[in-house]
């Protein structure tokens, strides 16, 4: 993993087109601003993890439990 140190209002550029800027640092919370083209999806990682967990649970559904 690449590790960079940034200060408030400094940013990084990814692939020449995505900018991530540090907007605010308050205790354990960091607010980031992300400027990316519209066709680039940006998500919190938790949502991916939660959907993966839910998919795993769904893959174990017993056909006998399906309502008529």
């Amino acid at each position: 993993m690449l590790v960079l140190t940034r200060k408030l209002n400094q940013s990084i550029i990814i692939n020449g087109e995505i900018e991530v800027v540090v907007l605010e640092v308050r205790g354990e919370q960091v607010r980031l601003g992300i400027k990316a083209p519209k066709d680039v999806p940006v998500h919190r990682k938790e949502i991916f993890d939660q959907i993966q967990d839910e998919n795993r649970a769904a893959s174990e559904v017993d056909p006998g439990d399906i309502p008529e």
Binding site: Q50, I51, E54, P67
Partner: protein
């Protein structure tokens, strides 16, 4: 079109033709190795379908058209997903949500509204789309009164 067969754990041997195959780009999240699925009717007259993996006999997901339970589910997709699926305004599409039923507890059935499977009905290309919006629950309880919105995260 030539008929082929596949053995499955839940449904035995199934006949299909190549045009029946749905290709889920990148797979279902958590199952990236499996991209090819068939859509099987659960029972005649049932709103439920199965997405059965062609590559893994034991892998199948119960899905349902969410409009069977929700009248107002019309998530807005990111442009990226529409481009991947080559969807235009006119393209026929199918939207399914994955159903989870805890073993032996059908009354606790939930729909994953945050990760619908969107299928380009013309090409058979599909994708599990991630909706990063707290309005769409990962565990929508169908046996509860509809809760239009949840508190934002």
């Amino acid at each position: 079109m030539s008929t082929q067969t596949v053995s499955t754990i839940r449904f035995g041997v199934i006949e299909y033709t190549p045009e029946d195959v749905i290709r889920v780009m990148g797979g279902i999240l958590g199952f990236p190795s499996y991209e090819q699925y068939l859509i099987l009717q659960h029972k005649e007259g049932s709103p439920f379908r199965w997405l059965q993996s062609l590559d893994e006999p034991s892998l199948a997901f119960l899905v349902v058209d969410p409009s069977h339970f929700l009248s107002d589910y019309a998530p807005e997709m990111e442009l990226r997903h529409a481009l991947d699926l080559q969807l235009t305004e006119e393209t026929a599409r199918l939207v399914y949500t994955i159903v989870t039923i805890p073993r032996g507890k059908p009354e606790e059935m939930t729909l994953n509204l945050a990760g619908p499977i969107v299928i380009n009905a013309e090409s058979g290309v599909a994708k599990q789309v991630v909706l990063d919006d707290p309005a769409y629950s990962i565990k929508f309880e169908v046996n509860r009164a509809p809760q239009p919105t949840e508190a934002a995260a």
